[in-house]
Every structure is written in structure tokens, then in C-alpha cells.
Amino acid sequence: MVLWGAVVLAAAGSVFLYQRQPARQIETVEAFQPEFALTDADGNIRQSEEFRGRYQLVFFGFTNCPDVCPTTLSEVAQVMDDLGPDAAKVQPVFISIDPERDRQMGLDEFTAAFHPSIIGLAGDDVATRAAADSFKIFFEREEDPAAPDGYSMSHSPALYLIGPHGDWLRQYTYGTPASEILADLKSRL
């Protein structure tokens, strides 16, 4: 049900894009390069340029999320395991949209529990918003008295593939099986 919704949305989105953009501008869309400069768990600023030469699998989320985030990170972990020697060509990156709380709770222990190759980033609010805008993704804090600390986060749950030159290549919608992500990556490596 949710999956079909995503498929319909994706289809509607591409039709919209197609109708709205003349051919020349579609090339512009393909060439967009998301950028970020965010702090890792050791306090170092990590920038998008650092990962040139490798593919990046980028996911936005928060570590207090019990359903969506573990599901996607488990899939990323499975993909990294199944890539074998090609895993060196792919860098998975988890960007926190709830950076202050995630830094307090421990970013590294969260990402490492899924896979040691995943880099967790949690910048300040301004840098986080800038990164999300650059990826053209949405996130928002939702006040919820019943949630831990009185709030939850809603966010774009897709996984984004960035190419070795920093170009945005595609998104894998939430729920894409690890086997499909793996097959797509292998066709590119």
C-alpha cells in the first residue's frame, strides 16, 4: 500500500518534471550536486568533496526512530556486505536531522551497530538545514507529547545515490529491497 503510494508519487513526480522542464533543463537537473559540511562523531567537519571518486549512499534520519531508520540502515548494511570487494567504492552516509539529541545519545554507536562502514554526521541546525536543502529533501520537527522528549521528526525516507563526481544520480524510495539497490549499484561500478 505504502509502496504503491510511493510508486504513484514517483511516477507523478517524473511526469510533473517532464512536463515542466524542457529537455535542456533536464540536463541541469541531472547535474545537480548536493553539498554538505557536517560534524562527525569525533567532532571533525566532513564535506561532500571529500568523498569524490566513490559513490555515496546518503540517508537522512534520526537515531530515536524505531521503524523507518533501522529498516533502511539494515538494507544499506546488507548492500555493503553483499558488495564484497566493491564495497570500497561505496561510502554510506547517515545524516542526522535531529543532530543535538543524536550527538548526546551517541551517533557512532548507532551507525556502527548496523555496519562499520557507515559514517554518521550531525551538524548544527543551520548546516543540517543547508544539507537537506541541497539534497532537496524535507524534514520537520513535530511536537508530540507522547513521544520521547515531547517531539518526533518527520522526514523524507528515501536513500540517495551520489556519483563519484558528486552528481545526484537517483533515489531509492523507502522500502526498496537491498537486492535491487545492490543490482543497480553493481551495474554502475
Partner: protein, 157 residues
């Protein structure tokens, strides 16, 4: 350090899936495939998934869950709308007659907050489910690996 970590990771990956997979019965309802994921410490919420088969002719609804493992347990639904995922509180989960209703990744789930202690792979804990009509029933929930994507019951029974 790295070797120690990889070693423990390998143990997690190769640990046998010893899920008890009990099925509890409550009138026309059969409740099974109850599982959860291991947590990192006790400060982040845990999750609860289950399958409920209603073999009767009357619709029912799951209205609440409680467990000694968490001070606060609620039903939530992951909703992906216009490309954005949110997790509203679900007041009730319909359990229609003649159907199996699943709390599963990406849909309805129980959110277990204020854990008494971390959930470790291989643990199990009880959850009491309250239904609008059928009443209450308690099932044992198996804690699987953090990376599990579904229950690992052998359907040999």
C-alpha cells in the same frame, strides 16, 4: 579494536535464529510472529511487531499494548505521504474478520519507550495486547538482531 568489533559483528550475523515463535489464542484470534529488534542501550525506543489472524466472523480492533519491558508502549503507524515519512499515534488497529493483520516494518508498529533495560538479541519479553471485543492476551516477544527485517519462525508447526 577493529578486529574485536568485526569479531562481534560476525557473531551477531551468524548467531542462530532461535526464535520461539509461540502462537497465542484468544477466542477467534491467533497472535503469532511477535518480534522486536535489539536496541543500543535503553534510551532509544524499541519496536514491536506481530501478526494477528482473525478467524471469526466479527471484526475486532487492537486498541493498546502494555509490557513490563517499557514504561510507555503505544501503537504507531509509519505513514509515507507526499514523499515524507511521519509516525502518527494509532488509536486502534483494525483486525477485520477473516484476515491476518500485521504490525510490520514500514506500517503499524508498537513503539516501546522508557525501556527498563536494553533489549539484547536472544532475549524475550511479554507484551499484553488489548482488543476492543476479545479482551486481553499476553504473548512472548523474541528479540532479534538489530538488522532483522522480519520474523524468523520456521513454519514447520
Amino acid at each position: 579494536m577493529r578486529n574485536i568489533f568485526l569479531g562481534s559483528l560476525a557473531m551477531v550475523l551468524f548467531a542462530s535464529a532461535a526464535q520461539a515463535c509461540e502462537t497465542a489464542a484468544l477466542g477467534d484470534l491467533a497472535i503469532g510472529d511477535a518480534w522486536s529488534r535489539a536496541t543500543i542501550g535503553a534510551t532509544r525506543p524499541a519496536v514491536f511487531y506481530v501478526a494477528i489472524t482473525n478467524a471469526g466472523a466479527q471484526d475486532d480492533a487492537l486498541t493498546g499494548i502494555t509490557t513490563p519491558a517499557a514504561a510507555m508502549a503505544m501503537l504507531h503507524e509509519t505513514v509515507v505521504k507526499d514523499g515524507v515519512a511521519s509516525m502518527p499515534h494509532a488509536m486502534r488497529v483494525q483486525v477485520p474478520a477473516g484476515q491476518t493483520t500485521e504490525l510490520a516494518p514500514g506500517g503499524y508498529h508498537g513503539m516501546l519507550m522508557q525501556l527498563a533495560s536494553a533489549l539484547n538479541e536472544g532475549d524475550s519479553f511479554p507484551v499484553t495486547l488489548t482488543f476492543e471485543k476479545a479482551g486481553e492476551v499476553t504473548v512472548n516477544v523474541d528479540v532479534l538482531s538489530l538488522r532483522s527485517e522480519g520474523p524468523t519462525c520456521d513454519d514447520a508447526s
